[in-house]
């Protein structure tokens, strides 16, 4: 499956947007982990803005990092959101409340607990009626989202924005589902080369296991294996420069996905 990359978004510890992160991923600047700044999205009405938690802010800011540099009208771009588990904090708060005597679940917490909450806020913020889906595929969520986004792009002959995001859960959930760091990655994909596309990616699934492409920096490698969205990092690194290369991302059942990146 061949698609064309028009824009990239990235937010993570020490990764403050795609433009600032490019030299780091390319190995031209040192990686210095730091705070992830996740402001509420200005585009949301005030009431909705107050209701958003960190997962929604992470997903929206990452998506806007990519879409902000695109000439495409934001309300015409379909979206694929993917995350291992969306809002662990809200889930934790609801479970705590349900284990108590009162069993109070706030309406806002409840509607924020759905896995597609970021997609809902996204469509409200951008007034976008475009189709959107929200996937969950445990450690393989980024790859599942990439396959879904590419399939959408090709079969519908429409651009699509993939937004992958994962962040740590609070205890006691963290102990049973540890996730490293707060990380969002986005790819704006088009079905054919355009004046804005700068790379072509060709994706194949492989039933057999192949060694996944690693990050050279130990801290970035820890993100790659510790955060489901971290599986995007080798793909994003390959998009930093003009070189052609093929990389491997691990997938379900011991399989893998190869991503061939070339300039266009």
């Amino acid at each position: 499956m061949q698609v064309f990359v028009e824009s990239v978004g990235l937010l993570g510890p020490g990764l403050a947007g795609w433009l600032a992160s490019r030299p780091v991923l390319a190995g031209e600047a040192p990686y210095v982990p730091g705070q992830v700044l996740l402001p509420p999205t200005d585009a949301l009405p005030a009431v909705e803005r107050r209701r958003t938690g960190l997962p929604v802010r992470l997903a929206l800011n990452t998506g806007l990092d990519a879409l902000g540099r695109s000439v495409r009208p934001p309300d015409t771009v379909a979206t694929v959101f993917t995350s291992s588990g969306a809002d662990g904090l809200v889930n934790h708060q609801i479970c705590e409340s349900l284990a108590g005597a009162e069993r109070d679940v706030s309406p806002t917490r409840f509607h924020n607990s759905v896995h597609n909450a970021p997609a809902g806020y996204w469509s409200i913020a951008l007034r976008s009626p475009a189709p959107s889906t929200s996937l969950s595929c445990f450690d393989w969520s980024f790859v599942a989202g990439l396959l879904e986004a590419c399939a959408y792009c090709i079969t519908e002959a429409q651009p699509v924005l993939l937004i992958s995001y994962d962040l740590p859960y609070p205890e006691p959930l963290h102990a049973v589902r540890p996730i490293t760091g707060t990380l969002g990655a986005a790819l704006l994909l088009a079905p054919e080369a355009t004046s804005d596309s700068f790379a072509c990616i060709d994706i194949q699934t492989e039933p057999s296991a192949r060694a996944p492409t690693r990050m050279d920096d130990p801290a970035l490698e820890a993100l790659r294996i510790g955060n489901p969205t971290g599986r995007a990092l080798p793909v994003l690194r390959a998009l930093t420069g003009p070189a052609t290369g093929t990389l491997v991302v691990d997938y379900l059942n011991g399989g893998s996905v190869t991503v061939a990146v070339s300039p266009c």
């Binding site: 509607h111 607990s113 597609n116 379900l252």
Partner: protein
């Protein structure tokens, strides 16, 4: 889109286990709803619960996945020759070439809710043996079904609230068209849990009586549970009369509010229009619409407007949620299977529990199931976050 054949399908809800039970119950206008006696829930509401005694532990080799949601999925999978269809398909296509796309909104969340009652007093830790990946995570359902069906193709869980298991039809169609797989198992499962019961109660959306879609006195939803599956493969030229096919899928976003539909049903209408377009059909080609019809005041009013704007007021419509309850993430597959049954068995399901139609609503609403000859039908699923999906299914002449 190129039509896909539903070579097998099955459904388990509070109406019964498997297709025969559903056909009989729908024809007779029976409802599976009963006053809520689920777990320790103290809410004045009705639910469509699958009896606990039917949800037996999983086979030993799959015991790690044991939770109510996966038990429900297991109960559904072993009905209607579904396992046999998939086994034959494994030989025909190969295990790597069959995709798996399932919808759920809460997956095994009940397990976590129960585990939170048994946290360590000092550390707050969850009980030893609690397995998040296998029994709680959204993807737990797909991992379990993939293991049960011995499949190794692409897989994903779609979780878009109440449109989840309708949207899996779209994912599967795209994956097959783009060559990532040759065929797919699709479906979904959602089981009762405290988060959804108390959550919908907090929004004031739970009815204290059995839900009554499109009724003038409708007062909210009744939550149900269920699991359904279908096997999708490219349609062949010569298929027996009565074979059911997926003809079109349409998706849209409301861009309006997190938990309230667009008042004029703009997003719903866009999804229906796109589904018709995807099927290459016009509104007059559709014989019946299985409505999302949740029985909240605002949902039914918005959908009524969207359907009557697009189809006029002559087309037969009904919601089957008065029979099954609202299956949330499983409602898409449940209602698609009910539509497939209607096409195969040539009837249109009525609306259990609806007594007197809301005079303010305009669609031609069917109260009692009727023998009819539907050829092409639409099924609507609309969810929180403004996630809309409509399916068009048809039968081979």
């Amino acid at each position: 889109m190129k039509p896909l054949t539903l070579s097998a399908f099955t459904l388990t809800t509070s109406l019964g286990v498997g297709l025969r039970a559903h056909l009989e119950a729908l024809r007779a206008g029976r409802s599976g709803l009963a006053p809520c006696a689920f777990e320790s829930v103290r809410l004045d509401t009705w639910v469509g619960q699958v009896p606990d005694e039917q949800l037996v532990p999983l086979p030993a080799k799959l015991a790690a996945f044991d939770c109510r949601n996966n038990r429900l999925a297991q109960l559904a999978l072993v009905q209607d020759g579904f396992l046999e269809t998939v086994a034959a398909a494994r030989n025909r296509y190969g295990v790597d070439r069959i995709g798996l796309f399932l919808g759920t909104s809460t997956s095994g969340l009940l397990n976590t809710e129960l585990a939170y009652r048994h946290r360590d007093a000092r550390s707050g830790a969850l009980p030893a043996g609690f397995d998040y990946a296998a029994t709680h995570s959204g993807f737990s359902l797909a991992r379990f079904v993939q293991a049960q069906l011995e499949l190794k193709g692409p897989a994903a869980v779609v979780s878009t609230a109440c449109s989840s298991s309708a949207k899996v039809f779209a994912s599967a169609a795209r994956m097959i068209t783009s060559g990532l797989c040759d065929a797919a198992v699709i479906g979904g499962a959602d089981s009762l849990c405290l988060t959804t019961l108390y959550g919908f109660a907090s929004l004031g959306l739970l009815s204290s009586a059995p839900c009554r879609p499109f009724d003038g006195e409708r007062a909210g939803i009744s939550i149900g549970e269920g699991a359904g599956f279908a096997f999708l493969e490219p349609a062949r030229a010569q298929e027996p009369a009565g074979t059911v096919r997926l003809l079109g899928v349409g998706e849209s976003s409301d861009a309006h509010h997190m938990s309230t539909p667009h008042p004029e049903g703009a997003g719903a209408r866009a999804a229906m229009q796109r589904a018709l377009c995807s099927a290459g059909l016009a509104a007059q080609d559709i014989d019946y619409v299985n409505l999302h019809g949740t029985a909240t005041r605002s949902n039914d009013a918005a959908e009524d407007q969207a359907v009557s704007d697009l189809f006029g007021t002559g087309i037969w419509c009904s919601s089957t949620k008065g029979a099954t309850g609202h299956l949330l993430g499983a409602s898409g597959i449940a209602e698609a299977v009910i539509c497939a049954l209607a096409l195969r068995e040539q009837f249109i399901p009525g609306s259990a529990n609806t007594r007197r139609l809301d005079p303010g609503l305009r669609v031609r609403y069917l109260l009692d199931s009727a023998a009819q000859a539907p050829q092409r039908v639409m099924s609507n699923s609309f969810g929180f976050g403004g996630s809309n999906c409509s399916l068009v299914l048809g039968r081979v002449h």
